[in-house]
């Protein structure tokens, strides 16, 4: 293959693009993220004129005009996107936003918090859908999503347990040395270990309760339990 043919082949790789639906939904999500409910910031007159004049004679001028239209109409869509429920056009943008947040979160604790936040979102959405009898499929999906978020939160929080174990090991060594000094109160648990273990167990129990409340349709109480769990994680 000659170099020319090779470059031609490489150029053909430009046909690999992101899915159009994803791109459009993600655009809405991004717009929602960057404007955060506020109106599109207005630049000073001179700044606007300066940028406008420099862009006016470019081939992209029309595309920019279209983009401006979408930005203006998008500002309205932002607040709606946060309240979107399954079936709404902006629901995909909301879910994408969640996935992106999870993707850029680095440590397990932050991810667990995000799982709890998303579980709360599912509770709110279920509350919005509960009166609608035509949404059984969406409700089922929400139930599964809620369960997944809770399970993921539990498993991520469990990954922090080795730290507690190592504390425990050290504390038992201390207890052993106490024993060597002929004290018989070796079995008295160290306060630090007890606190760590109880906290871990506490979150697990709270999440179990949240799951049960959600399954029985007590969504407001389930949301309260999730808030409680979130505070315990901190």
């Amino acid at each position: 293959m000659t170099e020319k043919e090779l470059l031609k082949q490489l150029n053909k790789l430009r046909t690999i693009n992101a899915e159009a639906d994803f791109k459009a939904a993600n655009r809405q999500m991004l717009l929602a993220q960057i404007t955060q409910g506020e109106e599109v910031k207005s630049l000073g007159y001179l700044a606007q004129l300066n940028i406008f004049m420099s862009r006016l004679f470019q081939p992209y001028a029309i595309a920019i005009m279209i983009a401006l239209f979408f930005v203006a109409s998008g500002a309205y869509g932002l607040t709606i996107s946060r309240q979107a429920k399954p079936g709404d056009s902006l629901y995909l943008a909301k879910k994408l936003s969640e996935r992106t947040k999870m993707l850029v979160a680095f440590d397990e604790k932050t991810k667990a918090r995000l799982n709890l936040e998303f579980a709360s979102n599912r509770v709110l959405e279920m509350n919005l859908l509960k009166q609608d009898n035509n949404q059984s499929s969406a409700k089922e999906t929400l139930k599964n999503d809620f369960k997944n978020e809770i399970n993921q939160a539990k498993s991520r929080l469990a990954k922090n347990q080795p730290e507690a174990k190592s504390d425990k090991t050290n504390d038992f060594k201390t207890a052993g040395s106490v024993k060597d000094n002929d004290h018989i109160d070796v079995a008295v648990p160290d306060k630090k270990v007890a606190t760590t273990t109880n906290q871990g167990a506490g979150i697990g129990e709270v999440l179990e309760e949240a799951q049960k409340l959600f399954d029985t349709g007590a969504y407001d109480q389930a949301a309260d339990k999730l808030n409680e769990a979130n505070k315990l994680v901190k």
């Binding site: 053909k12 430009r14 693009n17 655009r27 420099s54 993707l103």
Partner: protein
């Protein structure tokens, strides 16, 4: 040495305006314009690193979010360092891809993460792509990640040498040398095939 790729001058001009609008005014409209211009390019760059469409889309999305974060914090780098906004976006994308692999292997060093990232699987490319695309993609896979990255940046996404240098943390001279070697390596891999023949044989 090599055929000069087509350069989209209007795109570069537009890029400068966007860069300045973001740096001086944190212009949200300009940012969305950048999204429209560059999302597919950034997606493609990540896709050729990780070989998974869904994750590549998510990472491309995260790239733009992180870029906006930098804009808000006034951390948009100077034009001298990053020749264009898209250079800056590519740099963020590259770092996020490395983070992505480090999540899977937290102990991995930067070099190891890049090597894991090199474990690209072209089999994940959907059937929608043509046989010719599959062929060249398979050949790209056989190259080391450094060569693959530079070929994608230059010949697929049309970046200039000046734009590629800060993304890969190399001098312009190094970029030219690496690019030459990468193209030679790809030529060697495709030596026994001719462009027309591939299509005829496989079809």
């Amino acid at each position: 040495m090599t055929a000069k790729p087509q350069t989209d001058k209007s795109s570069n001009k537009s890029d400068r305006n966007i860069f300045l609008s973001l740096k001086k005014y944190q212009d949200k409209e300009a940012f969305m314009q950048a999204y429209d211009l560059y999302f597919d390019q950034i997606f493609r760059f990540i896709f050729f690193k990780i070989g998974n469409r869904e994750d590549a889309q998510d990472l491309a999305s995260a790239t733009f979010l992180r870029c906006w974060g930098y804009v808000q914090e006034g951390k948009l780098k100077s034009e001298q360092e990053y020749k264009s906004l898209r250079s800056f976006l590519y740099k963020i994308a590259r770092n996020l891809t490395i983070d992505y692999y480090r999540q899977a292997r937290p102990q991995a060093s930067l070099e190891e993460a890049e090597e894991i990232a090199a474990d690209f699987n072209p089999g994940l490319i959907e059937a929608e792509t043509s046989i010719e695309v599959e062929f060249i993609t398979a050949k790209l896979k056989e190259l080391k990640s450094e060569y693959r990255n530079i070929l994608v940046l230059k010949y697929v996404n049309d970046l200039t040498i000046s734009e590629i240098a800060p993304i890969l943390g190399k001098t312009k001279g190094n970029v030219r040398v690496t690019l030459y070697r990468a193209l030679e390596a790809l030529k060697n891999l495709t030596r026994d095939h001719d462009g027309e023949g591939i299509t005829k044989t496989i079809k």
